[in-house]
Amino acid sequence: MGIDYIYPQFEVIRNDGRCTNCRICEKQCANGVHVYDSVKKRMVCDESKCVNCQRCVCFCPAHALKIAKNDCTFRENANWDEDTIKELYKQAGSGGVLLSSMGNPKRFPVYWDRILINASQVTNPSIDPLREPMETRVFLGKKPSAIQRDEQGKLKCELPPQIELSMPVMFSAMSYGSVSYNAHACLAKAAQELGICYNTGEGGLHEDFYVYGENTIVQVASGRFGVYKDYLEAGAAIEIKMGQGAKPGIGGHLPGAKITGDVSRTRMVPEGTDAISPAPHHDIYSIEDLGQLVYSLKEATNHRKPIIVKVAAVHNIAAIASGIARSGADIIAIDGFRGGTGAAPTRIRDNVGIPIELALAAVDQRLRDEGIRNNVSLIVGGSIRSSADVIKAVALGADACYIGTAALLALGCHLCRSCQTGKCNWGIATQDPELVKRLDVHVGSQRLINLMTAWRHEIKEMMGGMGVNSIEALKGNRLMLRGIGMTDRELAILGISHAGE
């Protein structure tokens, strides 16, 4: 109470006529919002604990619950909005750095929504994907710049290692620790079934999941958690994480309280010890140091694994990507400023980095200007929300996309953005065994498969509409895109024309 009191953000509205006091909401809410008052013989609630994860709403058999935005507001102010004021109060009270999770929720332009896709009319036939083959398979990795022949003149067909994907979408890095064992199991199973890859994130690879190796990208981050020979050899590729879109330029911190049992063993960190990922890799202070790590990992795996270098989209991204392309990396992954996270300082999440659309367009063009686009593949992430975003990303120049938030939504995440509390009611961003078991691995993986299957159908429909029957012919095909409501400068960076041109 007093100066620091912040009125609850949400209002729990219970329809007493419908409520049967079955107490399911009480069991479902790990935050302890709902309590049964045995004296009054009815459910009561503590709204101050509610994060609006919608778990109780979804599981109330009587449809008696809804969560609404509270209308208790400060005096309206276009400059000092409510969140800003509340955050200021919190900091004045605590002296601490604000923490948030999931992607940047602020009102920045979403360029995907200002880009429109083409379709064929008359001069070029559209193609019906139900009748004709429509190919979505992609291979990621370095391609040679010149062919070679043997003495008989036959083509030498050896290629540097590649990742084969049935469609240009992968599940992006989410570590075991930041998400649950069951969440990882869902991602791994679905990736295998779909013929794509998921990504371990920086928390190592649980021993149960080595069987999904061919569909796994193993990550090496600045904390080097869980990295050893078998781990490097387990996956289809190795990703060096230099940065993350949600928090460019800083490291990570998994509190000791979460380093228990399996997480401790998988990360190879003693139980109860904080797992700290430093901001930089302490062996990489320049581009040539990155080259050394790339080649060390190649040597360690006998040059059988493509090496991905993942960076956050920052101002000078085109030059950075060009440097990475020349450092021996096979694939560059770029994470936009709207990318998700299990926990990040709020100010960094909301203010650092640039949109992936602009970063992708700039990088793709830069690599082409330097004639080295075929030496590397490009993966982009940092808010790919639908099959249309995938089509637009590929047409801007991406080889494939990473999806993180979209995959978690398929598993039940309702974007309450409270991952950092560890009390995820959907069993995703938590290590509490009681909560983890809520995420059914069979159901979860099937929902991921459904989502990707639906996207693949939609991708094929849109490709067919454009008269393109293979995703390769869409890559970098920017004439298939038009901008709407953009400035000349924005269009120039994206390398597309305005609608009507």
Binding site: E135, G371, N374, E472, A473, N477
Partner: protein, 338 residues
């Protein structure tokens, strides 16, 4: 063969073009200059020709230059100055720039076409030439007096431009060095192909998809050294499922080509005929979204969008068939025949 026959063949194809572009390519027409590159050029005026000549002289010797003979006909108007230059790159220049003569000529052509106002090179191979204009193809043939040329291989094209205005340079065939392309269709992969091929010194200036196919052919055949069959497996790559049915050796090769040159896959409807020194290659898109038929008679091979065009040239044509999508038809002149 003189140009007469092929002009005749274009008459029943009249409705397939709209008078905004017609053209021909002929191989073996300059035996007396066969060691020199024949640059055919459209020039806006005398000044453009003078500056063009000056540019050429920096890197090559011009052994002969003349106006290309034409006839006056009401069907063809507004013609620019049309010249041909027979040139040979200077050895000293080749040595100092570390180039072979083809690359030297290709670069000069790119420079003129992208940087010189009022000058456009539309043909530049040895012992071959392209003749094109705005008009119906049969009128273009009459205009250029093609019955006076003898060639071992001819291609022709009537245009129905959709994406770009009809202008002289925009008519087919498109040519670079001795490669020429006639193309029926509109490719949906255009910008993917263009942005890839421009990494290697080509500049697409005409906003037309046929131009990019010409550069792809030059890049794959001349710069990468692929065979015609291998090139066909890149631009009309077999489906992954088709590749999976091939024997192991073939599979390895097809997978390799498709992975390495994935950005040169051409989609959308096309039937193309690639002319080159010593032969022709015809190719359909892999779904066969455009018609194309092939026929034979004695030692001649005929390829056209419609059988009617072949029947005009050779009523007794035999072995008529329609090649499958992505199946290249390669015709080579018998050795020593030219």
């Amino acid at each position: 063969m003189t140009g007469e026959k092929i002009i005749e063949s274009m008459k029943p194809m009249h409705d397939r073009s709209n008078g905004l572009g017609g053209g021909f390519a002929a191989y073996g027409i300059y035996p007396e200059y066969k060691d020199f590159f024949a640059l055919h050029m459209f020039l806006d005026d005398r000044a453009a020709r003078k500056s063009c000549e000056a540019l050429l002289r920096e890197t090559m010797e011009i052994v002969h230059a003349e106006r290309i003979p034409t006839r006056t006909t009401p069907a063809i108007t507004d013609e620019p100055l049309i010249w041909r230059f027979f040139v040979s790159p200077l050895r000293s220049v080749l040595a100092s720039m570390q180039l072979n003569e083809e690359e030297c000529v290709a670069r000069a052509v790119m420079t003129i076409n992208t940087q010189m106002k009022g000058a456009y090179v539309f043909s530049g191979g040895k012992n071959m030439g392209v003749f094109k204009a705005v008009g119906f193809p049969e009128d273009v043939g009459y205009f250029y007096r093609l019955e006076e040329y003898e060639a071992y291989s001819w291609t022709a094209h009537g245009r129905y431009p959709t994406n770009t205005p009809g202008w002289w340079g925009g008519a087919h065939p498109f040519a670079l060095l001795d490669y020429s392309i006639v193309h029926n269709g509109e490719i949906s992969s255009y910008d993917a192909n263009r942005r890839f091929i421009e990494m290697f010194g080509y500049k697409c200036t005409l906003q037309t998809d046929t131009e990019v196919i010409t550069y792809i052919a030059d890049y794959l055949l001349r710069k990468q050294g692929l065979s015609l069959e291998e090139m066909a497996s890149v631009i009309a790559a077999p489906f992954w499922s088709t590749i999976a049915r091939k024997d192991e050796c073939e599979q390895k090769k097809l997978l390799y080509l498709r992975k390495v040159f994935s950005s040169l896959l051409v989609t959308g409807p096309f039937s193309i005929i690639l002319g080159f020194d010593g032969g022709l290659m015809a190719l359909n898109d892999r779904l066969k979204l455009r018609s194309m038929v092939v026929g034979e008679k004695d030692d001649k091979v005929f390829i056209a969008s419609e059988e009617a065009a072949i029947r005009v040239m050779e009523p007794g044509v035999e072995n008529i068939y329609a090649p499958a999508g992505g199946e290249p038809v390669i015709v080579r002149v018998k050795e020593g025949k030219f």
